[in-house]
Symmetry: C2
Subunit: 158 residues, 2 copies
């Protein structure tokens, strides 16, 4: 089946939210998704966009997406391409769509002169991890991700 | 001794690079720093800023910094404050400057309506990790950071 990949626009926010919720369901965390269409419109397509998004479509229907933004590396002195979410709906898997989205992201990263392309994966997701190792990616074993949120964040920021 | 914290400006780039190199030395990775003053000027203070930076000064001399940018969380539907580098020069430690910079960052995060404040720490840096636990942060144990760079990135993006 033929497919196409394009940059998401403001009108795509309902489709993006549908895909975000599908990914959260796979990650067994749907109850943690409070994001709304309005949040996506405001932060992705307003004056100060915080993210960009690629959609993969089959016959005009979005069945996959890659949502990304730029970090910055003080060692390389260049932006880092950060892939926040990569998703293909279950019924459209096994057709190479994940790889097509990853390649489209890597092309943007290279074009933007990023020296690094980064993301995070759940430790139990072995099929994904094996796939990432196959394309030459590695787990940054020595760097531990930390988070502050909720009451402790409010308290520190007071 | 009194100190002050302010947003960095374009003219601060040489001081920022000095601090970045000092942090890399502490992390035993000075050989990996290829960032230049021009990189900092272009990506921090040009048309499309990729990062922002706070400087902590003692008598007009920058002795600490926090370099940060915004990620975006598809679950919270809000930007995430991401602290890339936090540093206080060795001769200025033990005065609470690290905490002062962290608090200034948390204030910005809360003001910008971020639901999360995140960073990464080297696994062997136990003093830092203990400090982070004390303020209520946690290690996102199940999320593994991955990176693609160099030849494999160029190949994927071709």
């Amino acid at each position: 089946m033929s497919y196409s990949i394009r940059k998401a626009e403001r009108g795509d926010c309902p489709a993006i939210l549908h895909l975000i919720r599908a990914l959260a369901e796979y990650e067994k965390a749907l109850d943690q998704v409070v994001c709304t269409v309005q949040d996506l419109e405001r932060d992705g397509f307003g004056d100060k966009p915080f993210f960009e998004c690629l959609l993969l479509e089959e016959q005009g229907q979005a069945v996959g997406m890659a949502l990304y933004f730029y970090n910055w590396s003080t060692w390389t002195g260049r932006p880092t391409f950060y892939l926040e979410d990569l998703l293909v709906l279950p019924e459209s898997r096994g057709k190479g769509y994940g790889m097509a989205l990853l390649k489209a992201c890597a092309k943007i990263a290279v074009d933007q002169n990023c020296k690094r392309f980064e993301w995070a994966v759940l430790d139990w997701n072995m099929p994904a991890r094996e796939f990432y190792h196959k394309i030459g990616a590695y787990h940054k074993v020595e760097w531990l991700p930390y988070r502050l949120e909720g009451q402790p964040l409010q308290k520190l920021g007071r």
